[in-house]
Amino acid sequence: MEISRRSFLAATGGTGGSALLGFLGLDLRPSVAYASQAVPKRGKIFTTICPYCGVGCGLIVEVRDGTVVNIEGDPDHPINEGSLCSKGASLYQIHHNDRRLRTVGYRKPGSDQWETLSWDTAMKMIAERVKKTRDETWLEKDDRGRTVNRADGIACLGGAALDTEECYLLVKAMRTMGLVWIEHQARICHSSTVASLASSFGRGAMTNHWIDMINSDVLMIMGSNAAETHPIAARWIQRAKERGAVVLSADPRYTRTSSFADHYCKFRSGTDIAFVGGFINYALQNDRVNHEYIRHCTNATFIINPEFGFEAGLFTGYDESQRGYDKSTWAYELDENGVPKRDPSMQHPRCVFQLLKKHFARYDVEAVCSITGTPQEDYRKACDVYTSTWSSDRVATWLYAMGTTQHTHATQNIRSYVILQLLLGNVGVAGGGINALRGESNVQGSTDMALLFHILPGYLKTPQAKHGSLAEHLAAFTPKSNDSMSANWWQHYPKYMVSLLKAFWGDHATKDNDFCYDYLGRITGNLSHIAMFEAMYADRIKGLFCFGQNPAVGGPNANKEREALGKLDWLVVTDLWETDTSVFWRRPGVDPSKIKTEVFLLPAAASMEKEGNVVNSGRWAQWRYKAAAAPGEAMTDAWVLTRLVKELKELYAQQGGKQPEAITNLYWEYGQDSDEHGEPNMHMVAAEVNGYYMSGPDKGKQITNFTKLTDDGSTCSGNWLYCGDYVDRSDGKGKELGEGGHLTEVTHFGKTFKTINRMAKRFKEDPAEVPEGRCVGLHPDWTWCWPINRRILYNRASVDRDGQPWDAHRWVIRWNPTLKDGKGGWEGDIPDGGWPPLAKADGTLNPSSKYPFIMRPEGVACLFASALADGPFPEHYEPLESPLKNPMSPQQNDPAIVIWEPDMVGDPAEFPVVATTFRVCEHWQAGAMTRNTPWLVELMPDVFVEMSVDLAVRNGVKTGDWVRVTSKRGSMKARALVTNRFEPFFIGGKLVDQIGIPWHWGYNGLATGDSANVLTPHVGDANTMIPEYKAFLCRVEKEEVA
């Protein structure tokens, strides 16, 4: 969006500004004598969104004479209000940077250098290699003879830094090619979140949003170092503190977040379930439970199968030979209609509430602290403060990130938060929820677009070998409920699946050909990140695309992953920088001449050099604009994909090959042919993602809402969750029709339609700011958020049976019987479905209402979640590598994890120190962005290891010394930072040391250093295979020679 200098200044004055200018009262005239030439003229202003973490801060890019001259916070943006952290403040050096890629690089097999190619040559070469590998490694049938039709020898990684439209194009192109090895950052950062929250609530995303933190009374930050990794979160936490909120920090290290918190608890890495299990037990034992809430919003009252049990660390149904469970006993007892039986009194010994109470009774304060190493006094205080929010007029939120999600029992870590928050009645309400703080600017969007092997856009399921037709697929993934009060929203699955297939293959997708269902490769088994690199290592994958991901630094057991890259025939890296992954062939200690992989390095455009949306952690899809041209020959990822598709279409049309129709019939019309550079129009892509009518009287018109999607082929939608973000404007009403960058036009079937791009909306008024004290910060007309602009998920759980908020002082939605001519209606946020409240005026159940958790077949949130691989309740197990025997049960580790390399597990006698990896404010993820930004490199040039004074003294180490850290997998060198912020743990009479290492460094870039991930193991969570980055064993020695 372009805004004039005048409106920019007005905007600046608008926020802190309007107050500010008056407040300043600056009359600078007397000084102007010295400043006659000093007032710089302002250039054109473009708004953008920060490409770093998932907060989604707004920035303004100032362009003068075609050059970016200044980038600073957008004062109008409601989340950051002009503020930025060190990374956001350094964006200027992303655009102006000599280290940015400007030409296409090509590395011949065995070569030790790059050659420069033209785009034409490179894209033709890449397409030829894709075709060759695809056709040669095409798998028609799996080992059981089932049709799978997939390109088994090609993999694709990355996408969390791309715009959502690009992620959609990426998944569309790759799925069309028959790829099933599709993975990206989400697998290794928050996949456990999605599994955990979806099995509990029905959706996998952060429940609330950044600004909502101001509404909390207690904020627990555990498994997150939010002040460092999501610094603008601290803005809203600070405001909550000013309201009297208490901030708790639980972390093995005393971090910048701990310093900001009111109360700190240390705990040993990998003992999260014990830590939170104690909170759950504290709440249950002290009756700090919101009984009405759990009765009405959770499955606490449901009766469980009599065969279900738990003994010696195992739930019923365990099969050791399979390392897995037969989950048939983890089931509700059903009545004669097939509806789960309930005991509203919650006294039945087999009701979920009683089973839960029994399960967690073992987690008393003494037992917990003997596992976690937390001082009991600190721990009791935290339990007391947090569980004080069980009453309706108090609310707590739980903020977490990688410290929680990257464990062998990560999904269950989050489940423990779920259970606690449900018992306290803190889900669905303002200031509450379970807030997965997402670490990439668009990892929410890329996850929604399903750059993951097991899902398709909108959390539809990837076809499996066992489902031979669309009908079988739909039958398998469309859940049924016999309870008429359950909305069971996924019953609409077929409409979303068919609309997706129509978006992929357009008019070629017909009812007669199963809407081209057969074009999608079918999966067998687990194809996640670790599995992908194991397959690559085993020579099964021949070609790899890497879009803005850097596994040579970010992957677990990085040495192995770097070696695996050397087994590829070809590697295509699209990035802003020469990443460590792209130059794996010249990493220290290897001979390039022995590495036969052909490498293409494609220069990509940065966030302010292209147009599209990114989705922040709070699910806000925010549109950003192209402010300046990318340097040199750099192009957008969307252009690269479009060009690749064009080449492949030509090759397959001319030469045929394996399943050529999937490619030749692919619908890929985004105006690229009418653009001088062949650049696709992101508005056309966004319009397709939203969806439009494919036939009928409204043919070509944008669809306004996913309830309009059909399973008969008359609609298309690239992602049903995004249906509503790019809609027809001809019947629009109200201020949406006001002036602004969100009014657009798109063309379908040769006809142009007036449309609204809601993602570009910038109306800042917050209707929440009314005297009645409604929760603040919803900003419904600022951008758009999925689903259908609902700002707080599960908000039907914020009201009682009568539709009235649990807390009238910070309400999210409420039923107003006077609305709609006395028929009644909801006001506030967009409710989770418009049905009336559960109770009628006389108090009886209203049969036309629905239970609050509409995405779950039960209709309620799950305290007991049977969908998970390792148990319906969380249970403490030790990390795979631990210095201790599990005090809770004879079951040492999570019984359902896959152990890829049993010989690569470290022995505590040899590796006595617990290690964890962490991130800092000044660097981002695998470092390619920030280790090439001089201002950030100045702040943190070298990799370091944080250790306690105690451990340092015992090893003769001082701050600044080089130390060597060694695990069973590898060894690295780092500078010691000896600190009082790390203390050893005294557990079971034993001293347990822990160290922490930031993992951002690698061998390439302006700042280089050893990668902490050479130490981490190839072992993943039982449910999602998210790697265990946060708890493993090592030893630490002083390194004599620097």
Partner: protein
Amino acid sequence: MAVHALLIDTVRCTGCRGCQVACKQWNKRAAEKTEFFGGPGYQNPADLSKDTWCLVTYNEVRIGDRFEWVFGKKQCMHCLIPGCASACPVGALEKLDSGPVVYHKDKCIGCRYCMLACPFVVPRFEYDSWNPYITKCTMCYDRLQMGEIPACAKTCPTGSVTFGERDALIREAKERIASNPSEYHHHIYGLEEAGGTCVLHISNVPFEELGYITDVPKRPIAARTELAMKSIPAVMVGLAVVLGASYRLRTRAQLRGEDAERPSGTT
């Protein structure tokens, strides 16, 4: 005309260093070559410099059984009666009524008296340039002229750095201390130091613990510089030859308009 100031509150600071980078971005200061850390904790670079006008420090403080990690901020204090300005023989440093102490590089003769006169050891000299200037924080005077607040205050996520009228900020600081007396150390650094400054600090620990210079007299430094200033005419004669040449070079550069596009805070 109201005097403006910055209030820095360590209790609110998360040490994210948005201010340090925003300062470099706005003032187009180069990154420094650093190694490991230049001071306690994550501090980098080691000190203020010609390219670093704002520096966050990391201090592990133990008081009794209480442990705190406290982040300080080093920058020009913008004294009410600045020693640097009174020491400057040519008026290159000037205290504005609105608060900032600004630098006129076209007047500077490079004598570096300002550096000696500053009780907070703030002004730096571009030693490695053959045409050197004095550099320091300008309170983003150029931004103030555009109706914007200093870059560090604007970027601060938590309101740890705020900009406003000095009197109002003093009231605010007193209120924060009074409303949370157990959290705050009961002292406003800059209220009286060096006769009062336009950068005020409040903290949860004594300022010695943050490495702040705390033995600053309450009397303005300017009063002490008079003696030195008396000897200037004699010194000036001796320096005239050297500085004259330097001055000419600089003037020539300006005539060529080399610095015209530089959007830095120097005027």
